[in-house]
Amino acid sequence: MTPHVTNVMQTFFGTLMAQIAPALGSEYLIGSTSVIAMMMSMAGTEYERGAEVRVMENREMRTLFAAAAPGIGDSALSRRLEEASGGEDTSLRISDLDRTNAALKQLLIELHSHVEELEGPDATDLDRRIWAFMRNAAERRKLPHPLAAA
């Protein structure tokens, strides 16, 4: 599909902001059009990277769960971690990746909450790994602000 979606979205962002919004008479429509333009630019960014960031997150959470499961005393939680760690993304549709991502994140919340109640070096190490995962994942999802990039 050419021109590339990201390129089209960025171009439309510029057209809406520089040509169309200023020509609108209504203050409300100018504001709304500007917001739509910025979101088109962000959608262009997400189109390019969307599958990759979700696949990476899902893979990293499964790796984290695989490492954590044997040391978790709560047998039910440990079993669920073990099961989740064996999954894989067979569909690369964003909606499918999001569904899996949500299930894994819900389990991550339970694991993190559980680990925070534990003491000892293993718990500290696991807690650090969870924070590191969340930092990296948030950084990968950073949305460049189109006005800052312009």
Partner: protein, 346 residues
Amino acid sequence: MEDIAGRFTAYLQHKMPDASNIAIASLSRIHGGASRETYRVRASWTKDGSETERGLILRRDPVSSLIETERDLEYNAYRAFHPLGLPVPEPLYLETDLSWLDRPFFVMEEIRDCSAGSAFNPDPYGALAPKIGEQFWRHLGSIAKQDPRAIGLAGTMEWVEPADVWKKEVAAWEAVIDEDEMEPQPIARAAIRWLKRNPPPPAQKISVVHGDYRTGNFLFDVQGEIRAILDWEMCHLGDPLEDLAWAADPLWAFGNYDRPAGLIAREEAFRIWRAHSGLEIDPAAFTWWEIFNAVKGLAIWISAGKEFAAGNNLDPVLAFPSWYCTDVHDRFLVNRLSELVERARS
């Protein structure tokens, strides 16, 4: 299209029975103000033989909003602070009778020839930043300094004891996330657990908390005078550090932590606030309110996204923060919290 102008003309006639020739020269919707539909109105009338032309702002409850609040909170705040000389618009009418415009609304004076800086503009104030900055932090200090009982607001808002403020606020915003999240929020959940494990000291005093004091929510003129502090729909009684930390949130300064609100240096801003509030800034308490405010922000952005996704309100201004502001607050929280957790270990 809905005949708001015609119906509002009838309302003005009802409120001013002695006036004649009431006319609406223009009525146009203003962008922003995502929690209310906001209209700029140019009205004129004849009374006692003289003609009056006045700019008005009409704030009507939307069908669904970014922030679900009672409009009388905002109206009462304007009514309390206007006589004190704080730059707020003069409140004129509060109307809850649905027969006029289908939804409750209030009317206030229009502050003309002013603009609001956008929080999403990298440099919203330009050369006016130092002058506006001094006023911005001074006014926030003045709000914190007021005794809510003395200005008549304690009776209109729920009272809270200094030791209970943090619990009440965390519970309220956690409930919003519980109700509105469309996907699990590991960072917000970790932050909420941290807030509960590390409570702040009791508030120094119970103040009126504006609740959304920030870039974009005040009007200034070309000379750099702040003419109106707006959007009091989230005001409540609480810890004045909540407002200070919200105003200094990096989201409102394009991520610039050292120049909060995109105005003046952090140290100078906080010195001005201390001087005009008469209050201190306990570093640990301030840090707690910083974390809290990022969680509160996430709750608002999550809620806005849900309203948009559900089709309850398709204004793009509800979708935007759900993407962009969520991203900013997630990254701020995860970086700040992991530092704090690590520091507590060492």
